[in-house]
């Protein structure tokens, strides 16, 4: 029975036959089909199951508003749940499976819910499952969760790629039906930059689904001809298969282009979908209208669909959903379906609500068999396999309410039209604006384009419009068939029925928002496109209010659901964020370094030597070798900011808490930077290279933030200061050379005299290395005699190799961030874990650095009462009383014998390392009144460890190593 329901006509390519599978069964369709049209052509009406009652369902629509015909498209890692068969473009080899049904679509065990429907009313779960208390999570909820959901993800990584892009235009036109095409032609001919986007794979909108003529030719042919003319215009960009998902501020629109979804697999290098950010100066919404159903008993059976959809399947796809058809309508558009189908030779019975006729029931569990009609008291049942329902058309106002503008009710067409206060620059045309005739679409499309361009100073002219029908909307609202005992569906996917809305009204959930939230009306994947207005109208009927009195319903982005992969684009996996590599990266790789992420940087964490099996071996070796002789470390990642200008010194005095004006040329100084709230923000050394020239270093983490704050200080706080700033972080490769033999090593490399006399402690200045310009700073983070040497970045790799070569006689080593951390803790220097944004200079034992003699950022508020508390946190050193005692960063201090309760909390260990120098774990910590507790014993307790880690510790000065700093000056 191949394509038994395929009839003549339609815009499919019958010369291209495509094979596909649904639930394992093979079928054939044609190019131009959707999965739904092809299945219907093959006589398949049953395509899905509803969410709550697992009712058998077929397509309700022929478009993106589809609530029922949802399938798993494709298989394996490409399985795509909840895919609307009505918009899935058919391709050869397409494979789809039904979802939310077990064991099979025809026999679904959970259809038991349908039998229990009288118990499963709206919100029933709020009223039960409470006793006994424990049972909710142990029993009830697990069952509910298991049953919930529609389609399934495979848990495999999505194998396809996605990307993003940016487009700019004068006029964005959303929708390529008669209104959109008319607008695009008008704007295109006027020379404006135009983007015409349409969610369908073929442009033309409803004209593709109608037999109406435009300009004396078939509407579909007219549309095709206009598309050709537009395609020839260089200033017009046609974007089929592209959905405008949302209107954002100031004319920015999000759009999803389905680049490869019409193929089995994307072509090599191509993405599956692209997220476009469209920057438009003006936009016209020509998104058409969506037909709405009428609620009557069992109006959800496969074969019952919107009348316009029935017509679309016949006219566009050459598919007769059924041979014996009934049409239930409250308006003339329904009659159009009847006449079109009759013209296709189908037998059609019209039930016109305006003549007192109505459908009161249907039969056919897996597919429509008959409808029961009541006309003026007389009840009859007629056999039929398709029923078209038309309750009128709702303009697709969705995008106009993305800025929370409320649509307004227009009695003449019994529907909501866009409100006045929609997104600035967006106007609506055609059916989306309530102009439901073809002529109305052409005319308003042209008019809105002319008006939009006039705003931009672009003159567009009104060409004569082609001849087209201009029938008035003849509708007398009918929302539901009263008096039924059974269920009449309003939101088909979520199984919200007339009874549910009645119950919500009975329990006083009468505001629209309460109605939606209590019954879940409009919360399904179709976002209420077919059900919301109907539900609202039903509530109005029940409360005896008008629809405007009852409220409106607004829509939020996205217009249709968007794949997460598309929204992420290329930012996933290793490409989530870019990598920043240090100048010594290549060399370190050769050494087999272990790298660690530090922000976006990759830094050497340690560099194992042959035979080292545990990271501690490498780190201990690096520390001991440095302290014994000399070690080298790439410190390029530290922020460097070049500060020049005649007010540079005064500027530094403002941004640093300590004094800088007195810093001499050729010297550097440790600087402490506060936030205005008095907390320590950042630290680093700043060198004075010339009278009006400084180079500031920041922590790696804060480089960008400090630069931002310096710009703020110079532009906003002290705008007349003569200060210029530029980052030089990446311009210079900088290495720390530390250890007793640091000078000896550098003397072999640096061209100048760097003896202690020529280059004293905290000296800074220009040097050359083999004639290459460089900089030298005599500063130390490790506590050793140490320098930082810098050369232009391109020479960084060569410099590290040269340093290692020159250092061979001293057994020089390169150390990574772990050893760096060990040595700074041994010296009691604060770093990231102490600079936590919650700590003041006083907490760090640096209170005296905050000068009161000058105004600097944070100085005043650092003096607030609680921040000066003598019993506040102070930075201390921590040593286990027994050498083998283990410490953990994050452990809290408790007094000996104190119970582990918050009242006894003394503070915590901020950083912990193993000190090969001291032969035990050591740590820094913030301890309440810590400066008064030096020499005492406490417990460092980690309650997260299993078993709990309790270590008896001695509170000591944070300067574990060379407290007098003799080695620095050595």
């Amino acid at each position: 029975m191949s394509q038994s329901n395929r009839i003549s006509g339609g815009q499919i390519d019958r010369s291209k036959t495509l094979s596909f599978r649904f639930d394992g069964k093979s079928y054939q369709g044609h190019a131009g089909d959707t999965l739904a049209s092809a299945l219907l052509a093959n006589g398949v009406r049953l395509m899905g199951r509803s969410f709550k009652y697992h009712r058998p369902r077929g397509p309700l629509s022929a478009g993106s508003e589809e609530p029922n015909a949802l399938v798993h498209l494709r298989s394996g890692a490409r399985q795509e749940p909840n895919t609307r068969a009505t918009v899935a473009e058919l391709f050869d080899g397409l494979e789809a499976r039904s979802q939310n049904a077990w064991p099979s679509l025809k026999f679904d065990a959970l259809a038991i819910n349908d039998r229990l429907n009288t118990f499963l009313t709206a919100g029933f779960y709020y009223k039960t499952f409470m006793w006994p208390a424990a049972f909710w999570e142990k029993l009830y909820e697990p069952i509910i969760r298991k049953a919930a959901g529609l389609g399934a993800l495979t848990r495999q990584e999505d194998p396809d790629s996605y990307d993003k892009g940016f487009l700019h235009c004068d006029l964005l036109i959303i929708g390529a039906g008669p209104a959109g095409l008319s607008a695009a032609l008008t704007a295109g001919r006027a020379g404006a930059q135009v983007i015409l986007a349409d969610e369908d794979f073929r442009m033309g909108g409803r004209l593709k689904a109608e037999t109406l003529e435009v300009g004396g030719q078939a509407g579909a042919d007219w549309a095709a001809a206009q598309v050709l003319e537009l395609a020839a215009m260089p200033n017009v960009r046609l974007m089929p298969r592209t959905t405008i998902i949302g209107a954002f501020d100031h004319g920015i629109y999000g759009a999803v282009e389905r680049v490869s979804d019409h193929l089995a697999v994307p072509m090599k290098g191509k993405v599956r979908q692209t997220l476009w950010r469209i920057y438009s100066r003006r936009a016209v919404l020509a998104g058409g209208a969506t037909e709405r159903p009428i609620a009557f008993e069992n109006n959800d059976r496969p074969g019952v669909m919107l009348a316009g959809a029935l017509r679309a399947y016949a006219n566009r796809w050459g598919v007769a959903v059924g041979r014996k058809v009934a049409v239930f309508t409250n308006n003339d558009d329904g009659l159009r379906t009847a006449s079109d189908l009759r013209a296709k030779g189908l037998e059609v019975r019209v039930i016109d609500a305006r003549k007192g006729e109505e459908v009161i029931d249907t039969s056919g569990r897996l597919g429509l068999k008959s409808v029961t009609i009541r006309s003026n008291g007389k009840v009859e049942t007629i056999a039929c396999d398709a029923l078209g329902v038309s309750g009128g058309w709702n303009p697709n106002v969705n995008i106009t309410s993305h800025h929370r503008s409320r649509p307004v009710w227009e009695e003449a067409i019994a529907a909501f039209v866009p409100g006045e206060d929609g997104p600035v620059g967006l106007t609506a045309a055609g059916a989306a604006a309530g102009a439901l005739s073809t002529h109305g679409a052409l005319a308003t499309g042209q008019a809105q384009a002319i008006a939009a361009l006039a705003d931009l100073g672009i003159a567009a002219k009104a060409d004569a419009l082609p001849q087209a029908e201009d029938a008035p909307v003849a509708i007398s609202p009918k929302w539901y068939v009263a008096g039924g005992k059974g269920r009449a569906w309003i939101d088909q996917q979520n199984d919200v029925t007339l009874k549910d809305v009645k119950l919500a009204q009975q329990e006083n959930f009468t505001s629209v928002e309460h109605l939606k939230r209590y019954t879940t009306l409009g919360m399904a994947t179709d976002q209420g496109k077919t059900g919301n207005v109907l539900g609202l109208a039903v509530m109005a009927g029940l409360t005896g209010k008008t629809i405007p009195e009852t409220g409106t319903t607004i829509y939020r982005p996205p217009y249709t659901p968007v794949a997460m992969g598309t929204l992420a684009g290329r930012s996933r996996g290793k490409e989530f964020k870019p990598f920043r590599l240090t100048p010594s990266h290549k060399w370190a790789e050769e050494q087999g370094a272990v790298f660690v992420e530090v922000g976006m940087w990759l830094r050497s964490q340690w560099l194992p030597k042959a035979g080292e099996t545990h990271w501690r071996e490498s780190v201990d070796r690096e520390v001991l070798a440095t302290r014994k002789s000399v070690g080298i470390c790439d410190v390029t990642t530290l922020g460097k900011i070049d500060i020049q200008g005649t007010d540079a010194a005064a500027f530094l005095d403002k941004v640093y808490a300590n004094n800088f004006a007195s810093l001499a040329v050729g010297k550097c100084r440790y600087g402490l930077m506060l936030r205005e709230d008095g907390m320590v923000y950042d630290d680093g050394t700043t060198a004075r290279l010339g009278e009006n020239e400084y180079v500031m270093t920041t922590t790696t983490a804060n480089a960008v933030l400090v630069f931002r704050n310096l710009e703020y200080a110079r532009q906003v706080l002290w705008p007349d200061m003569d200060v210029q700033l530029i980052s030089t972080t990446e311009a210079w490769a900088q290495f720390s050379v530390a250890g007793p033999n640091a000078r000896k090593l550098l003397e072999k490399v640096v061209d100048q005299d760097i003896s202690d006399a020529a280059f004293p402690y905290m000296g800074a200045g220009a040097i050359t290395v083999g004639g290459i310009r460089g900089r030298l700073f005599r500063i130390s983070f490790s506590g050793e005699l140490a320098y930082e040497i810098a050369v232009p970045t391109r020479y960084g790799d060569a410099l590290v190799r040269k340093l290692m070569e020159a250092g061979r006689e001293f057994d020089a080593i390169v150390y990574g961030t772990e050893a760096l951390g060990v040595m700074r803790v041994e010296k009691g220097h604060v770093a990231g874990n102490e600079l936590n944004g919650q700590s003041s200079a006083l907490n760090m034992g640096l209170g005296k650095m905050v000068s009161k003699k000058k105004d600097s950022i944070g100085m005043v508020l650092s003096q607030r009462e609680a921040l000066l508390d003598p019993n506040g946190y102070r930075l201390v050193g921590v040593k286990p009383v027994h050498k083998d005692g283990k410490l953990t960063a994050g452990s809290h201090f408790l007094a000996i014998g104190a119970a582990p309760v918050i009242e006894n909390d003394g503070g915590w260990l901020t950083s912990k390392v193993y000190s090969p120098h001291l032969g035990c774990d050591i740590a820094l910590g913030y301890l309440k009144a810590g400066d008064q507790k030096i020499g005492t014993q406490m417990r460092a307790v980690n309650l997260l460890a299993k078993p709990v880690q309790e270590t008896l510790v001695e509170i000591v000065s944070p300067h574990f190593f060379d407290p007098e700093g003799e080695r620095l000056r050595g």
């Binding site: 004319g251 205005e676 532009q715 002290w718 105004d855 600097s856 100085m859 005043v860 508020l861 607030r864």
Partner: protein, 94 residues
């Protein structure tokens, strides 16, 4: 959002970093003002529903700090100025 940069014209707000209310430009002088004055300046905001003058930094642009007048109900931007000009007009100098 689109910020109409006084020098560069319309730029996407994604290029900017937001700081907060332009009230924060009135930083007291630490040599004359005390804790109360600094506290009022740093912590309290008008936070209006309507026109709001606020500071944006063109970090992925020309590094200008801007004062943007934007409606917090509609996001409509009615005015954009260079913060340095505003600061100088307020009498800030060195």
């Amino acid at each position: 959002m689109i910020i109409n940069h006084p020098i560069l014209g319309p730029r996407d707000s994604q290029e900017f970093v937001y700081l907060g209310a332009a009230e924060m430009m009135n930083r007291p002088d630490g040599m004359s003002a005390g804790i109360e004055e600094f506290h009022e300046w740093l912590y309290h905001r008008d936070n209006p529903a309507g026109e709001h003058r606020e500071l944006w930094y063109h970090e992925q642009g020309d590094r200008s700090w801007l004062v943007v007048t934007r409606n917090t109900l509609t996001h409509e931007i009615s005015r954009v100025e260079l913060a340095r000009d505003v600061a100088k007009a307020m009498g800030r100098s060195k």
